[in-house]
Amino acid sequence: MSKSSPRRRFGGKSTGTVTVIEARVHRSSARNAKVAFVLTAIIVGGLAAVVATSYLHPIVALLLGGLIGVTTGAFVWLLVRVWPVIRLLWWWSTEILLAVVLLTGWVQLANHTSTLVTLVVVAVLVGVPAGIPKLRRLVIAWSWCLIVRHRLRVCFAQFIIASQSGSLPLILWATPTPVGERVWVYLRPGLSAKDLEGRLDKIAVTCHASTVLIERASEGNAAYVRFDIKRREVLNARVNSPLVDVIDPSAPASASPLTVPTALDLPDVEVPTVTLPTQAKPAGKKSAPTTTANGSKPAASSADADDDVSDWI
């Protein structure tokens, strides 16, 4: 949250206002609120007046309708006006809830127990998850899920330009996966999975991750996508095959007789006797050359062998 005036950033006198909502969103919200007020007032007021004419004098009904319309419109105006703040609270709702629960718990604990008991309870609550690796990993994984939703929102707000009104995609729930997190997002008009594919590297940087993949989460709705955030390589260990378990390793060895050549080193193979296994001449090549590179005539009998060697060099 930055100060409203950049001039006063460095210790100048503050006006006391803090920018919670960006100016663009603020203007858009004001306009929307006005439109919402007028529309609600007219529609609700009109409907209320029509219904009221059945019971009251038309003029009284009209006045009543106007009153109901203005009241409802004002309520809607207020709702739309504070919507950016409600949205902000919604984004941080989990953290706010967690903070409230933790603080309340701490205060209640401190008020109702002695210091020693308080410390023991806190030590158990913190120490047990920290000491048991499985629990610790679970807590860390879910913490990343909280963090990554905010990081994704930063991506959308900072460098992924969406609609003119500046509304952000709905970042739905996130779950931990063995490699990182998986976050479901509902895109708003102006964005597509294709647009995001070109920015996956930037998203990965913003999310402090290694790589990010995006795929559609629904066959029928292109707006519903899924981000796979990957921060660690898990496929490092060796995977054993279950085939080993279905066999009896004491089975008698079975191998057909195999003729093994003894020429296993280069000097063992004499030059004219090179015969690569059925290595035939390439079709595109001309038949045996009449002269070699130095102009001498090759021996007719070694022409095939020469061709074979040159293919392999």
């Binding site: 790589t211 898990v234 079975s254 020429a263």
Partner: protein
């Protein structure tokens, strides 16, 4: 000047086989969520590619290992390097070494079988072979496909090999004759694009560039973040698998040590004693 390694004796008693079927899902490894990854190999052709030492042979050996332990399954193996699929050579109905002529003959035989099977299916008012038909599954496994399509033999033979293989890959799917092929880089100059595109399942092991990864998985995946170039060189067996689901999945292929492979091969040979073909087929090995 040759030495001969004698065949060892076989035991008198023969155990019951492992009870697997090629129609069962074939376990090939785990994914990033720790879930096992299975492939339906019978009805799909698999192309595994990536740089040397990436773990292609591990994947191929998993499938071979499953194949040899299956009932009613025949193996046809192509391995110019001999050692990758060599352990299964006695269990295979044909083992093609660095001999393209024998390879072409074998592919021709397979195509005749495929055509005959389709005639049989037509006569039985069917379009696809099922597990209850009692017909054998003929699993063709090719390690280092590029050796047959670019190195061994003449240009005409290489083209003939590619054409015959294209026929087998396109025909084999529904008649129980799947093809599993591995190569380093399946670009058009190594394997015709028309052949490459027939493989439904793709496994991209580590590549050096985005482009290489795209060649294996298909155009556009690298741009979406699915690139095998981000696999660490030390992480052998890690790959992107494009199979069911339509999205590439990061997997780690299960690894069989040499001892495991030979143990499985020995056990399979033991259980297959009544049905296996006897005698080593001509691999084209120079004495």
């Amino acid at each position: 000047m040759t030495t001969t390694i004698p065949a060892t004796t076989t035991a008198a008693a023969v155990p019951v086989g492992a009870g697997l079927s090629m129609f069962d899902p074939v376990f090939i490894g785990i994914d990033e969520f720790g879930q096992p990854v299975y492939l339906d190999v019978v009805y799909h052709n698999l192309l595994a590619a990536g740089e040397p030492g990436g773990g292609k042979s591990g994947l191929v050996n998993n499938i071979c290992g499953h194949g040899v332990l299956c009932d009613n399954t025949r193996l046809v193996l192509f391995d110019a390097k001999l050692v990758e699929l060599g352990p299964w050579r006695d269990l295979a109905d044909a083992f093609v070494g660095p001999d393209i002529d024998y390879g072409i003959d074998t592919l021709r035989r397979l195509l005749v079988v495929a055509t005959n099977r389709y005639t049989w299916l037509l006569a039985n008012r069917r379009r696809k072979l099922g597990p209850d038909d009692g017909m054998t599954v003929i699993l063709t496994v090719i390690d280092e496909l590029a050796m047959y399509s670019t190195v061994l033999g003449s240009k005409a033979q290489q083209e003939e090999f590619s054409t015959l293989l294209r026929g087998l890959v396109s025909l084999g799917r529904a008649c129980g004759m799947p093809v599993v092929a591995a190569t380093q880089r399946p670009s058009w100059d190594i394997i015709p694009a028309s052949l490459r595109d027939l493989f439904g399942y793709r496994a991209a092991f580590r590549c050096t560039s985005l482009n290489s990864s795209n060649i294996i998985l298909g155009q556009g995946w690298a741009e979406q973040g699915y690139t095998a170039s981000d696999i660490a060189p030390t992480n052998q067996g890690a790959a992107y698998l494009l199979a069911e689901g339509g999205m590439p999945r990061r997997i780690k292929a299960a690894y069989l040590t040499d001892t495991d492979i030979y143990n499985i091969a020995d056990y399979a040979a033991w259980t297959r004693t009544p049905t296996r073909t006897t005698g080593l087929p001509d691999m084209g090995l120079a004495a």
